[in-house]
Every structure is written in C-alpha cells, then in structure tokens.
Symmetry: C2
Subunit: 353 residues, 2 copies
C-alpha cells in the first residue's frame, strides 16, 4: 500500500510514545525509519518498528534514555548511548562534533551502548548541512564472510561519507557486503533465486537459494573484504565494541546492542582553501555528464539516487508492504502487556490511531 | 635480476644525491621505493626512479625542499610540500599528527604541493607503530571510469588504514581501481591479454587488449566507484587540490603535482577503553583461521601478504627487472646535463657507484 510520509511518521510516533519514548526521541527514531522508506531502503524503514518495540519490551532499548556525552580531548567525544535509540545517540554525536569542528576544525565521536543507527546517510548529511565533511562507520552482526572464507566473520559494516557540494552534497552510504540480507530475504519471499556471488550456504558453498544463504559475500572481492575488516577493527579500537561473531543486538530481541559507531566531522573552513564546493560541484557535474556505456543509465554521483527517490515519494507517497503497515497499526492499537525493564514514564498503548 | 634491499637503497641514494637531494631526503625517498619493491609492489619501486630524476631536472621536484607545516587549529595541520618529494612531506605530516594526537587524541593533515607519495602503507604504519590508528588518502591522475561511464574521470585514489594489533597491525592499502595501470602494462609487456572487467579502450568499450586500455574499471562496481569518487572530492575539499582530469604530475615529467593527500591519526588511549589490541588481535587470528573455500588460500588479514613478502625479500633479495636496474645504474653513472630549475646545491652526478 501507499501512505504519505507524514502518516507513516505519525503512526511510528504513536507506537513509540505508547512504549515510553518521550516526544523528541519518538520523533527522531520515526524520522530515521521514514527517511529509509523515502529513499527506497525499506529494510531500514517501518519494517524495523516491531523489532524496536520488542526490544523496548525486553528492556534492551531504553526509549527515554538520554545519551551521556563527554569530551575526552579537544577533538574526541565519547558518547554512551545508555541503551537508547540509535538515532538519538548518533545525531547528538554528530551535532556535538559539528559544533566542536567550528573551533577545532575536526572532531570524532566514539559511540557505544546505542541501538541500531538505521541508515547512515542522514548523520553525514547533518555535517554537510553546515558545509562540513561527515564520515560515519558502524559495525553489525557478522553476516559477511572474509574473501576466500566459508563462514561469516565480519559485519556488513557500512561506511557513509558526505562532502559539501551544490545543489546537494555527495553522500556515499554503502555497506561492505555485496548485498544486504534484507534484499536476500526479499528474494526468498518472492521465491526468486539470488545471483551467483551474493552468498554462501551453511556449508560454506556458493548458493543461489536465498533461503539457504548463511553468509553474504564481501563486495569487491579481496579489497571490499579488507575494507569491511578494517572498519570492524577500527570501530572496535575506538569504541571498545564487540567484534565479529560476538556482535549482537541490531537484528534480535535477545541481546543488548554491543556494536560501536564512529563519526568524524571536518570543517573545510579551517583550511586555507576554505569551502571547495564550487570546484567540487563543477567536477561532480562533469562526472554526471560522462558518456555512458551501452545499456547503462546516466552516471550518478553517490546520493543522487536517494535524493531522486526521496523527492518522488514525498510527492507520490511511500510504498509499504501491507503486512508491515498492518503490523505497525496493530502495535499502535495496543498489544498484550509484556515485561519491559527498559520502559520509563510509559503511557498505555493508544488504540485506534 | 636479484639485488639486496641495501644495494637498491644505496643506488637510489647515490642517484638522488647526485641530483641535489640532501642526505635525509634521499634516504627517505629511497626507503619508500625499496619498501615497495620489498612488498612486491614493483610499480611503486625502483622503476619510478627515472621519472623522479626527470622531474628534478625539470624543476618539478625540488629535492631539497623542506615542507612548510602549520597548525591551523588544535587538530588540523596544513602541509605545503613546496614541490619536494612526496615521502618527505607525507611522513612529516604523519609524525606531526602522531605527536599532536598524544594530547588532542586526533589530528588531521592536509597536504598539498608534494610529489607522489609512493605506497601508502608505511605512512599509516608510522601511526600504528605508536599504538595509533592511521588513515591515508591521496588522489591521482584520472585513470578510472565511473561505474557505467566510458571515460576515465576519477583517480585511482588509494586508501590506507592501519589499526594496531599483534604481532603486527592490520594494514589495508588499496587503490579504488580494479587493477593498477602498472599491472596492465606488465600484461602488455608480456603480450598477455587482460581479463574482462579490468579496463575500457579509448572508445569506452570493454577490452582485453592491455595496449588498448584507456580507462581502468572501478573495483567493486557501483560501490567501489562511489568510494573512489567520494575520496576524490574529500581530498580536494580538504587540500584544494585539482580534481579528475585536471590532476597531473605523478606520472608525467611535464606538470607540477597538483593532487592532494590527507592523513588522519587517532589515539585509542584518548578513549575510555584504551588500547584494544588484545581483543583485536584475537579477532584477527580467528578471521585468519576461517575455514577456506575450495581452491582458496588461507584467509588473510590486510597487511599479512605484504609482511610475508617483505620478510622473504629481506632474506632472499629483491627481484628487479634488468632494464630497471640498468637504467638506475646509468643514472648513477651520470647523464647529459639538462635544465633543472628545481635543483639547489646540486652535486655533480657521481660515476661508477
């Protein structure tokens, strides 16, 4: 079905509020899910709401948690998410870094004990909105096998980079797996095979059966595998997060979230050249104008597609699977009470939103 | 032929000294070329010496230049290489950042006006040697076509990341092209076709003829292409360097080098968790022990191969093509004098080294 972004946002806010999220936290978490759906990243959209609720019920997400932020040096911030929503800790970290980068030119935030960040692009865009470079890296459950290996040992470890440009920044937001588990699951639901090179089965053999996929292949062979592994240990070194198969809590309702997140913000105005968005924009336009190979669409700059998808859906509405919408509606209408150690100031689930 | 690393180093130092490099600069540039040959990256080894000499002769490299370094903020360093050797500016930048990271936790250097850096790994290793994370990015001539495009628009833009671990750090050092132009040229010299997917010809069509290769393909499809492009504009934003097809001076003897280099150093001891090299090392060992796919060698961590190659060649010597060695010998024996605007305090070429 097709819904407006506003309706989706309202529904999510009502559910999260019912489960104890204060207005600002509910709005922020809702914004992150809606942004994913607006950008055609359904795996990080409304579909994640039931898991967020289950994690709140089990005390694995503390919906009212206020992140604890502390500057360790002039440029290094430590953020303890205190089991709160990922976007609450993540956006706070970026905002602090942007503020600090105005004077220090550069700031890094090491975030631990926060829940799933959702899509990374909006964090780095929050730096680019201020004319700054933003970089975000986060780890996740081991779903990717190392190049040549049979077993998943590395997170899908996405990397996002935003660089100021006109009319909008370059915004790279990519996982280091060849494909997302969400996309493999969509193939499974549709009864379609997956292409060779996407995944291995439980025995470590290449498979085209999405239901058998046990380990996603790294993107780009040995290089992509090396990059994902480097990001895994980089994040763990800065956040003291768990590593590899010990990472839990972004996909399950059983464990505290023990991955880590790192944000870096750099202010070009601290440098002699100052803002470079003029020459950068001109160059990116030249890249967009590159003659294309037979059968290829126009060359795109990272972020172009998401921007176009977002604009289209803001006009035409967001496609959401019926199942996902109805599940969210049911959550809004109220579910059987369950233990929730993490809830504070909880309001009863509101019926009939 | 096979030579010792010491003999190679001595030969390079004698040539560079003859062309006006002071002892420290000659030794550092020599170390960078020898390190490349020791690690089986011949394209960045002794083979580059004649081009360095031609660039000195034409005033495009100032072999005695002392980089100008200036801290713009508590964490941001600007380095003007003053047309000197790349390693002189690059290593100085890293050393300054390491020193600053002890107090600030984090430091970034934006380097301009320096010549080719050579292999990136030793710069980030210089951070890891102090228990710190090192990241290096540099741009280069546009040799890579954007995903779906027919024309080279993006540098090979390598990225290096070192993360402390035992017995040695993880050291990723990868270009964002599918393959290096050096490797394509080796196929051309050997009269061997290149595999499909490596390159396009001048008309923008896929080619397996190494002599026809005009644009290298990005590694990892759209993701690798996006990463290379993001690094291109990130470096240009921080260093005000040239972009895309306007980048010159790492492969030619005609133009000043107008690419940029960025180094980032972060000190884990600034963070509450402190050094994580225990858990990181344990994890990397588990990754190395991943069961392997049929036909695959053992799973390797970035840096493992370079370390093994280096150890082997330190024992057994460095293989250098006869042509490359003799060219270097001829340079050491003295060449016809030529105009050299960039030479200062030049000593006459020494014969018979």
């Amino acid at each position: 079905m097709i819904v407006t972004a506003a309706a989706e946002r309202e529904l999510i806010v009502s559910v999260l509020s019912a489960y104890g999220a204060p207005p600002a936290a509910a709005a922020l978490q809702a914004r992150w899910l809606v942004e994913a759906d607006l950008r055609d990243v359904g795996s990080h959209g409304l579909q994640r709401l039931p898991m967020l609720v289950r994690r709140i019920e089990r005390g694995l997400i503390a919906p009212a948690a206020d992140p604890d932020v502390s500057w360790r040096t002039s440029s290094v911030l430590v953020v303890d998410g205190r089991r709160g929503f990922g976007p609450v800790a993540g956006l706070r970290a970026v905002q602090e870094c942007v503020e600090r980068a105005r004077s220090a030119g550069l700031a890094l935030a090491a975030v631990g004990n926060a829940n799933h960040l959702g899509i990374l692009a909006p964090y780095v865009e929050a730096a680019a909105d201020h004319g700054m470079i933003g970089i975000a890296v986060t780890t996740s459950e081991a779903l990717v096998h190392p190049f040549g290996g049979r077993v998943a040992m590395i997170g899908t470890n996405p990397l996002a980079i935003a660089v100021p440009a006109r009319p909008g920044p370059l915004v790279l937001d990519m996982a280091t797996g060849e494909v997302s588990m969400g996309r493999i699951l969509r193939h499974a639901r549709a009864g379609q095979p997956i292409p060779p090179g996407w995944a291995l089965d439980a025995a470590g053999e290449p498979t085209t059966d999405p239901a058998a996929a046990a380990a996603i292949s790294p993107f780009g062979g040995a290089k992509g595998s090396g990059l994902g592994l480097a990001l895994e240990v980089l994040v763990a070194t800065l956040t003291a997060s768990a590593l590899g198969r010990d990472v839990h809590g972004t996909l399950d309702a059983d464990d505290a979230c023990n991955k880590g997140d790192v944000f870096l913000v750099a202010d070009p105005s601290a440098l002699p050249g100052g803002s470079q968005d003029g020459p950068v924009s001109e160059y990116l336009d030249a890249v967009r104008a590159t003659p294309v190979q037979a059968g290829a669409a126009a060359v795109r700059v990272p972020g172009d597609r998401a921007r176009a998808e977002r604009a289209r859906r803001q006009r035409a509405g967001v496609e959401v699977p019926d199942r996902v919408w109805h599940e969210a509606l049911e959550l809004a209408r109220g579910q059987p009470a369950s233990v929730n150690d993490g809830r504070r100031g909880v309001t009863p689930p509101r019926p009939g939103v």
